[in-house]
Symmetry: C2
Subunit: 376 residues, 2 copies
């Protein structure tokens, strides 16, 4: 599988380049002042202790806050004993692959699915099955068939999926939970975007089945550079997860954990998130309006209800890579959708509305319109 | 292999417990004020950019500083392109295991060797060969024999080894480098303690052979909670290392990287390290004096020239685990040496002189003396 993510970040960072390509949140929304205070506070209060080695599981008070959040917002009860802090939620996929996947083992993924996780799991050479996504969740006929083949894991993003923006309906969540309950196959529920819904959120699949490992992250809502994610795992897996994390890195960055914990102590998360969600909703609408005004009728797209991405399709049979190349020549980076797929997707493109400023979004969309004229 | 490290940290953190057991540096030596200023400075200067996603390789200016340090102190020339920042140097071992070791592949380790690395490599089920350590380096006859069996890696700590405190002599380094040059087997040179020599340092084995991957860390000298380590790898491996790191966690914590980079910009590392080395030398001497005064003649130990550990032996045929248990009952934690070994070592114990305060060291040594009376 091609290594797109980081190379696109590198290209997108070049001077003069506008990017709709990466999964970067809007850096203008980071609370620089609040995090500076939190860092200063923990160093004042804890001194050398906060700079010392820590435990593999992660900071207890932070895990308690995550457990509380799970109960309040994701609608399931868990405890800090079931929560492990990781170097971003990306690290969860590496460990789940390492623990559960031997070469040739079945792994069901969404088609399209999150590229970073596909890359992470690929290292363990599983047999990928890609379940197509409808507008309200996975194709249940396909998913049931795949589950019959006894895969080890089903990896999914039920909220504002990266790349497609699809969210599972309540009915779809129930059906997926029923499948998880009735089979050995463990569901990995990646909730990286769950806090970024414009209209609230539905309960996690984890609230309907215990055969689920839920992963989460502060990257999209507070800061990605602090690489702090987590997973919530069933009782019987805690020892194996702990051992695997310890062997790989002893523990995740506990200075950042303490800073985030302090930040959450001083800020009500819902109050903090309200303007962030509103800003993403505004930017999403801006991008959709610009697309409506500038792009040819032959292109279609969805209307996201959260997250960071618009999912665009050029006509069947066309190859979106050409549009990518035409845009790149004009200094706009967009993300071809093909690499997110186990099969198909040549005519898809992912556009990020979170990263760019309003001005860059307008400039970028005008470039994209010209690139469309070049190609179609 | 038993998972000692983190469980001992957990025990050692219990109230009223004195610990000589873990590998924790002295938290009184962390520059809390300096790191607080550095964190504050990078947030003021870089704002949201320092909280955003970053590149897999790590912060360029920090990698440049590490390259400069390699040239100045470790006596070999390298460039930022060959350096990768990781979540502590522990993460290097996981990736090197993942990339180089298939089940049954040969891995030569020191006997005794660093337990954390042994645990990390164990995940990939190599065939371990343990080369005994003399007071000036590995037993070269054994090492030559093992290398003939075409192992993939030879993992070693040439400076102030954890657990034994052994440092390779210049002659020993030359011999090891010659072996590395003449064979496919890659040497992994773990330099976690290289900056903590009481009497300066010898050139790295990497300065004498290019068939070496060198790993380093800020954990022992600035802060372990910031989990910032690195590896210096040959040109032909950079792409594979980069891909492996990206798949596992996208990139290491770049907020901590920026804080450490700023700290190093504002502090001359040698000037900063001078009092730290002096304090460890003082504490080492204090522990040795206390041991001399309190412990029975049947116990022997080395005189470390750096690092954090004294390596103690009870008479051949005795089991140090009994001493461990007797000490634990009296609320002192010591580290049995057996788990560091591929074979033997039942009569060995590792004592850390860095963690405890002077007062605790005195109390702890008096407990150890009583535990010796209980057992021997």
């Amino acid at each position: 599988m091609e290594s797109y993510i980081m190379s696109l970040i590198a290209v997108a960072n070049k001077p003069g380049m506008i990017s709709f390509a990466t999964g970067l949140p809007d850096k203008r929304l980071f609370d620089v002042k609040g995090l500076k205070e939190a860092a200063s506070d923990v160093l004042d209060e804890k001194g050398g202790d906060v700079l010392q080695y820590s435990n593999t599981e992660g900071l207890l008070s932070l895990r308690q806050k995550i457990a509380d959040r799970c109960q309040k917002e994701l609608k399931f009860k868990t405890s800090p004993e079931n929560i492990f802090i990781t170097n971003g939620s990306q690290e969860c996929f590496d460990h789940l692959g390492k623990i559960f996947l031997d070469p040739g083992d079945g792994l069901v993924v969404e088609n399209p699915g999150y590229l970073g996780a596909l890359q992470s799991f690929s290292v363990y050479s599983p047999k990928f099955s890609g379940v197509d996504l409808n507008s309200d969740g996975p194709d249940m006929t396909q998913l049931s068939e795949f589950i019959k083949e006894d895969p080890k894991l089903f990896y999914s993003i039920p909220n504002h999926q990266n790349p497609s923006g699809v969210s599972y309906s309540l009915e779809s969540r129930k059906q997926v939970a029923e499948l998880a309950d009735g089979n050995e196959c463990i569901m990995v529920e990646d909730d990286a975007y769950g806090e970024l819904g414009f209209k609230g959120r539905l309960p996690a699949v984890r609230s309907m089945s215990e055969n689920v490992i839920l992963t989460g992250s502060f990257s999209k809502i507070i800061s990605p550079s602090m690489r702090t994610g987590w997973m919530v795992v069933p009782d019987e897996m805690t020892e194996e997860i702990r051992t695997s994390l310890e062997a790989a890195c002893l523990h995740a960055n506990s200075f950042s954990q303490a800073v985030l914990d302090k930040f959450l102590e001083k800020n009500d998360l819902n109050a903090y998130l309200k303007p962030i969600r509103a800003e993403y909703e505004r930017k999403c609408k801006l991008m959709l309006d610009l697309m409506e005004d500038s792009l040819p009728d032959s292109l279609t797209w969805n209307e996201p209800e959260g997250g960071m991405f618009v999912w665009m399709k050029s006509p069947e049979g066309t190859n979106a890579k050409k549009l990518f190349e035409a845009a790149l020549e004009r200094k706009l980076v967009i993300m071809p959708g093909h690499p997110f797929h186990v099969r198909g997707g040549e005519n898809t493109i992912r556009l990020n509305y979170a990263t760019a400023s309003d001005e860059d979004m307008k400039k970028g969309m005008s470039i994209l319109a010209k690139a469309c004229s070049d190609v179609f």
